[in-house]
Amino acid sequence: MIDVAVTKRLGDFTLDAAFTAPAGVTAIFGRSGSGKSSLINGIAGLLPLDAGHVRVGGTDLTRLPVHKRRIGYVFQDARLFPHMSVLQNLTYGGSHDRGAVIDMLGLDDLLDRRPASLSGGERSRVAIGRALMMRPQLLLMDEPLAALDAPRKAEVLHYLERLCSTARIPIIYVSHAMSEVARLATTLVLLDAGRVTRAGPLDDILSDPAAVPLIGVREAGAVLTGTVRGLNTADGLTEVALSAGRLILPGRLGSPGARIRLRIPAQDVILSTAKPAGLSALNVLRCQIAAIEIGQGPGVAVSLVSGTDRLLARITRRSAALMGLAVGQEVHAILKATAMAPQDIGGSA
Amino acid sequence: RDLTIFAAASLKEPLDQLLQTQPGVTATYGGSGTLARQVMAGAPADLVFLAHPDWMQAMDKAGVLTPGTVTDLLGNQIVIVAPAGTPDLALTPDAFAAALGPDGRLAIGLTASVPAGIYGAESLTALGLWDTVKDHLAEVDSVRAALALTARGEAPLALVYRTDARVEPAVTIVATLPEDSHTPILYQAATVGPANPETTALLDLLKSPAGQAAFEQAGFIPLASH
C-alpha cells in the first residue's frame, strides 16, 4: 500500500498530487511537463516538499533521509557513476539477483567498461540493473525503457512483472507508452498540470469510454484477466478462458490454470453483427453493447460486456451508423490472435 | 650543549668562517628587526648580534638579554657605489644630480627601517644632499638588493656598506660618506637569558683578537678592545 501526497511550488509550476495505490505496479501517465518526475522525486525524498507525506506499506517515510528510505530509483537520465566500472555501478547499492539481472539486461560483456563508452541504451540498462540489485522496498522508474529496443524492452518488462509478483516489490512506473503501462500496471494515476485527474485500478480506467480523451485514442482498451486452459505445442498457441468464451493466443503463456492479464486495445477490436466465418482471426467473443460514446473526431467508443468481462471497441462513426449499433444489441467482437503480441500479454496480476 | 647565534644577514660570511672552529655553534641569519622580534618571542638564541642598536635597546628593555652584556663589536662605513669604471663622485648636490641624470635612481635600503638606509638618509641630510636625492631613491629591503640594482646597471648609484661593496666586481666605490655625517655604525652583540659561562665564552670569542680579525678581514672596523 502506497499513500502519497506531494505539494511543491517550482517557479510557475505547482505540483499538488495525492494518490493511494495497492501493492503492484502503479503507472503515472501524463504529458511532458505534467510533473511526473517531480512527483517521484518527492517520493524518493530528493525534492524537499512544501507539504505532504509518503507512506509505503504502513511505514511513514516522510521524515526519513533519502538513503534510509530504501527506494530504488531509475532516473530519466541514467546518472551512472563515471569513475566506476559497469560492475561497480551495478553493485553499488547491493547485489541481489546479480546473475539474473546481468543476464536479463545483457550486461555480461560490459561489466569492465566505464559508463562514458556505453551507448544510450546500454547506459539505461545499467541504470535499471543498479536499482534492481539493491532490492528496494519500492521501485521508482522514470521512463526506464525509452532507450531500449523492442526485444530488450519485452525482456525487461517480463522481469519487472516477475519482480512485482514474486518479490512483491511495489513499483511506481512513469511512461508515455501505454503498451508498457497496460502490461504492467494494476493502478493508473493520470497527471495533468501537476494535479491528479484520475487514479484507480487500471482496468476500470482503460475500459471506461469517458476516460478515452484523458488517455488518448490509441491507448484506450480493456485489460482482462483469463485462465490458461491448455497449450498446443504443435502450433505454439495457448488457449485462455475468459468469463464468457475463450481466446487462442500465440506463444506459451503459462501452464494450465495460471491466471494472466490481457490487454485488448480498443482499436484492435472489430465488431460484426453477423457471426463471422472463414476469417483468419481465431477469436470471436459474443458481447452485448453497454454504452456508445460519440467523440469529437470520426471515432465512436463502444463499451461491451462479455460475461463479467468488459471490452472497449473503437470504430468509425460511419460503421456504427451502417451497422445500426444500439445499446443492448448483441454483437460479435473479432480479435486477431497475433495482434496480442507478447508485449501486450501480461503475467498473472 | 649546542649554541645558537642570531645574527644580522650582513655578518654571514665572516661569522660562518669564524664558527668553523667552533663545533656545536650554529648561526641563524635574518633581518635585524625580524631576529629581535623572534628573540623577544622566545627564540632559542643564546647570543644576538645585530646591525643597529635600536633593536638591541628594545630587547634589553624587554628583559630578554643578559643584563649588562650589550657590547659594541664592529663598525662599518657607508659608501656610494656605481657600475665599475665610473670615476669618483664629489659629495656635492651638482655632482649627484649629474650622476643620477633625469631619471636615474640611488638604490638604498629602506630609509625608515633597513639600518644602512637609516644611516644613509641621516648622512645625506647632514651633507646637504637629501633634497637632491630624495625623489630619486629606490628603496629596497636589503643592502644586497641595492647592490644588485647598481651591479645590474639599473640604478647608477647605490648606497651600501663598504663590506658589501668590496666583493662585488661589477661595482666600484665612488665615494665614502664621512663618519661624522651619521651616528656611528654599530654592530652590537649580547647574550640572551640568565648569565651562563658558555654563552659568555661565545661573546668573549667575538671580542677576542682572533674574532675581531676575522671581521676586519671582511672589511668591518673592529671596535672591541680588551
Binding site: 517557479g11 | 635585524s32 625580524t34 627601517s113 633597513v114 631613491l137 629606490a138 628603496e139 640594482l149 645590474r152
Partner: protein
C-alpha cells in the same frame, strides 16, 4: 587611523597594481590554461613548469630574475624600451608585472580546472550548430568556465595585494610609485614601536580582501543562479 599620506598612497597603489595585474594577466592565463587543459604539444610539461616557477622559487629570486630579464639592461626590458618606449624598472608598471607573474600560477590553475570540467558534448553541439571555434569558445566555453575564471581572478587579485618579495626586489619601494601596502608594512615592521601603523595597514589589507571576496562570492552566486534557472 594613524596613517600618513605615504601609507594611503601605498593603499591606492596596491589597489591599482592588483587590479591592473589581474585584468592584464587574465587573458594570458586563460590562454595558457586552455593550452594545458586541452592540447598535447611538445614542451607542454615545460610550459606547465614555467607557469608554476614563481610559486616554487623564493619571491626574491623571482624578483631578481625579473630584474635580469625586464630591467633596462635586460634583453626584454631593453627591447621594450627601444621598441615601445616602455620602462618597467622602478615604475608602477613593473610592480604590475611582478604581481601578475607571482599571481599567474594561481590563476592558471583555477581556470584550467574550469576547462577540465566543461561537459564534453556541449562544444560539439555548438559546432554542429555552425559555430566556429572562436564562437564556440566565446559563447559556450567561456561562459561555462566563468566561475573558475572568477575564482582565478580572485586568487590572483589577493596574491597581487599581498605580493612583496618579488616586487621590492624588482622595482624597489618608491613612495607613490612602487611602494605597495606590503612594502609599507615591511618597512614599518623593521622599526621598533611602529606596531600601531602596522596594525592599521594590516586591517586595511584585510578589509580590501574581504570586500573583494564578498564581491566575488556575490558574482559567483549570480552566475550559478543563472545556470540553475
Amino acid at each position: 587611523m594613524s596613517l600618513d599620506a605615504a601609507a594611503w598612497a601605498a593603499v591606492a597603489l596596491s589597489l591599482r597594481v592588483a587590479l591592473v595585474a589581474t585584468l592584464l594577466g587574465l587573458p594570458l592565463a586563460i590562454a595558457v590554461a586552455w593550452l594545458l587543459a586541452r592540447k598535447q604539444f611538445w614542451g607542454r610539461g615545460l610550459l606547465n613548469g614555467l607557469v608554476h616557477l614563481p610559486l616554487v622559487l623564493p619571491p626574491v629570486v623571482t624578483g631578481y630574475l625579473l630584474l635580469l630579464a625586464f630591467g633596462t639592461q635586460g634583453p626584454i626590458g631593453g627591447f621594450l624600451r627601444d621598441t615601445f618606449g616602455i620602462t618597467l624598472a622602478f615604475r608602477w608598471t613593473g610592480a604590475v608585472l611582478a604581481a601578475a607573474i607571482m599571481a599567474f600560477p594561481l590563476t592558471v590553475r583555477a581556470i584550467r580546472l574550469g576547462f577540465e570540467a566543461v561537459p564534453p558534448g556541449l562544444e560539439d553541439a555548438a559546432a554542429t550548430l555552425g559555430a566556429s571555434r572562436a564562437r564556440v569558445f566565446l559563447t559556450v566555453t567561456l561562459p561555462l568556465i566563468a566561475p573558475a575564471v572568477l575564482a582565478g581572478a580572485v586568487l590572483g587579485f589577493a596574491k597581487s595585494l599581498g605580493e612583496f618579495g618579488a616586487t621590492i626586489t624588482f622595482v624597489a619601494a618608491i613612495p607613490g610609485q612602487t611602494q605597495t601596502i606590503p612594502s609599507a608594512i615591511y618597512a614599518l615592521l623593521q622599526v621598533p614601536g611602529q606596531d600601531g601603523a602596522v596594525v592599521s595597514l594590516v586591517v586595511i589589507s584585510i578589509v580590501l580582501a574581504m570586500g573583494t571576496l564578498a564581491l566575488a562570492e556575490w558574482l559567483s552566486r549570480r552566475m550559478t543562479a543563472r545556470i540553475a534557472g
